[in-house]
Amino acid sequence: MRKQSPIVGIIFWTVVSTLTLFPIYWLFVISVKPAVQLFSTPDVILSDPFWGNYAKVWGDRLLRSYMLNSVIISTGNAILCTILGFFACYALSRFKMSGKESIFFWTITNRMAPPAVFLLPLFLLMTQVYTIGEWRLLDTQIGMILVYCTFNLPFAIWTLRPTVDGIPKELDEAAFVDGASSWKVITEIVFPLCRPGLAVTLILTWVFAWNEYLLAATLTNFNARTLTTGLSEYVTTTGTEWGIMATISVFTLIPALIVFGLVQKHIVAGLTFGAVKG
């Protein structure tokens, strides 16, 4: 495999990338097609694009606030889950606590729950229990950040565990011998070494939160509505506004790409840290 000619590689990657990109390209095609052409014979090549949908979406103030909510909720949730997940993994990796394997397995069961039925108790809790005076957790950004922890925190713990376990304990011990505090060992020695795993966790938790639909649709009303719930507004009985939906989707790719760009550097940094030759 190592000595194959670069042409094979280029062909391989071109094919894979084309397959990967096609549905996204098609999304773009839909976004620049007038509605009237959607049910006509499809053409692979784009001709005469129509930018009306973009003008509409860009000018929609509600969508802008949905976008902001989405960014705040997914970023807040991803950072929270990555940090808490890292702490939890460190605890599971370095301490001999009784029942820790059970705890570890139990965390993941939170992600297994079929969400539809859990909406009702969450709704009741967030409107009637988690309240302070008139204020309630329902329809708030912090509420969604916390709710998303139910599926993202287990994910973070599960993807980070192998990484944290992989950092040799001798490093911690050497630091303790040098008189470092536990906090310092965790944040300044182990944390940086886990960078590739942390970056992947951050990206993926962000993506899960960014894409979540069902919980947001039920647990937000006016103030914390996210982009995915905004999308569902275009599926109506008088016709799905495919063009607008596709346009919004194209817009949602932009912040996602920025996050990816920022975080991918750290995966790349990780590549040099422990490269394996295949």
Partner: protein, 479 residues
């Protein structure tokens, strides 16, 4: 194009409409009535359909400017809307002051006392009664939102009938007419019987094939995994064969099967299903994956010569050039009927199709009922209707039909509003069942199996009738 049929296409139009808000002579009354409710924010939830978006974009801002009462309208998808409203009302949270009630849910809400009696509320608070609002202004459609004593529980905001839509350019083409005459010996005109309809459908499907056109003889809302198909059969096809109210007899212990006195698996029901499936088989291939949305798109793309289409879609198909290729080429007619059905519909015993639509209701759990009642009256006034009808084709008040703007639109829609006005009484809303969604969902999987051919029509309808009765027993309605 003068008609701004969708919010998407008409953000600009709405801004204009909003600034030219009608200058009513009753402004002072509204200001005074709203005085006690300054600083109040009303919250509503609705489906993001054009009429609802008109409320959010136009009527709510107008109302706020006039009265100082803020109105936030949450628009969401059909599935989500009911779930959110039900959770709120069931738990008594009081998030919403207005909820969208569609025909398919109103009787469930009424059975649970989820809604405020608007007639009573306004009668008890004479100060709240707007001079320009009267229940008498509504069309008969409002009757579907009343209880047994005639009390109104929702202000109508959407109203459509599912019509027989046909392509006038094809039906009036002399060459096609001659070909049809030659083939069938009949004149080509909109069908009045199922046999005629089938003949025309077959003719056009063949015609499309022979001429290598993307044209088929009929539409079919026959999705194999979405309740749209279930609705087309029970609301629009079965009644034209004389099977009403889904074949469930409310006066006979909610019987569904013939054995117990229902008609869900009657000979007529089976004939209706066979006819409909035979139409589906000569409809465009996408019909098997079509909901109401795709049926509209299919027709708008010029792929069908005739079909049963919801009025809300007939509007944009007939008049919106940005979405439809058949603008100005569409005529409306009454659905084809079996013998005797028209007579039954005229006498009020039966109906010939679905009168669809919704209203804005006031949840019992709302904490701001008085302010909400003001807004509901505001959107129920005759004065706001014409512009609303033009922006999103729907008529809920009698006087709206006479407005010049609406009359002009009637022309473009091939006489759709005339039919709604004159023949609307032949159509009916959903049966008055508090278990609407429950029985629908319980029987739907079996229904889909009939569509896919896994079950024969006869066996399938027999099973559906049994399942419906079981579900009704489980729910405690059938004793």
């Amino acid at each position: 194009m003068r008609f701004a049929l969708t919010i998407g296409a008409s953000a600009l139009a709405f801004t204009i409409a909003a600034t030219s808000a009608f200058a009513g002579s009753n402004d002072d009354w509204w200001k005074k009535a709203a005085e006690p409710y300054q600083g109040v924010t009303l919250r509503g939830v609705t489906e993001s359909s054009p009429p609802s978006l008109y409320i959010r974009e136009v009527l709510a801002p107008q109302f706020e400017e006039l009265t100082g009462i803020r109105v936030d309208v949450e628009t969401t998808s059909w599935d989500q809307m009911f779930d959110k409203a039900i959770k709120d009302m069931e738990a008594g949270t009081g998030i919403y002051d207005m909820v969208y009630i569609e025909q398919d849910i109103i009787y469930s809400y009424l059975a649970r006392d989820f809604l405020t009696n608007l007639t009573g509320l306004i009668a008890d608070n004479p100060d709240l009664k707007a001079p320009t609002y009267s229940e008498d202004n509504f069309t008969t459609f409002a009757d579907y939102f009343k209880d047994g004593d005639g009390n109104l529980y929702g202000v109508p905001m959407e109203a459509f009938i599912k019509v027989y839509l046909y392509r006038t350019d094809l039906f009036n083409d002399p060459e096609i007419q001659a070909a049809f005459k030659e083939k069938t010996g009949k004149d080509l005109k909109p069908a009045t019987t199922h046999a005629d309809y089938a003949e025309i459908a077959q003719f056009f499907t063949d015609y499309g094939k022979e001429n290598d056109m993307k044209l088929w003889g009929t539409t079919a809302q026959a999705h194999t995994g979405h309740v749209a198909s279930w609705y087309e059969y029970f609301e629009s096809v079965a009644p034209t064969f004389g099977v009403y109210n889904w074949g469930i007899d409310a006066d006979n212990n909610y019987a569904a099967s013939v054995a117990n006195g229902g008609s869900m698996n009657s000979e007529e029901a089976k004939e209706a299903m066979n006819w409909w499936l035979s139409m589906r088989d000569i409809a465009p291939p996408e019909s098997n994956a079509s909901t109401w949305t795709e049926v509209g798109t299919t027709f708008g793309a010029g792929r069908a010569a005739q079909g049963l289409v919801y009025g809300e879609n007939a509007g944009w198909i007939a008049a919106d050039k940005t979405k439809s290729l058949v603008v100005g080429k569409v005529g409306v007619a009454l659905p084809p009927l079996a013998d005797g059905v028209l007579a039954e519909a005229e006498s009020g015993e039966g109906y010939i199709g679905y009168y669809d639509g919704g209203a804005f209701g006031l949840p019992s759990t709302s904490k701001q009922k008085e302010a909400a009642a003001l807004f509901l009256q505001y959107i129920g006034q005759d004065e706001v209707q014409p512009d609303w009808a033009v922006a999103a084709p729907r008529v809920t008040n009698k006087s709206t039909y006479d407005d010049p703007k609406v009359q002009a639109m009637n022309e473009e829609l091939g006489g759709y509003y005339d039919m709604l006005k004159d023949k609307g009484y032949l159509f009916a809303g959903a049966p008055a069942y508090p278990f609407h969604a429950q029985v629908r969902e319980a029987t739907a999987p079996t229904f889909y199996k009939i569509l896919t051919g896994d079950l024969s029509v006869s066996d399938g309808l027999d099973q559906m009738a049994t399942i419906a009765e079981e579900e009704l027993t489980n729910l405690g309605y059938r004793k």
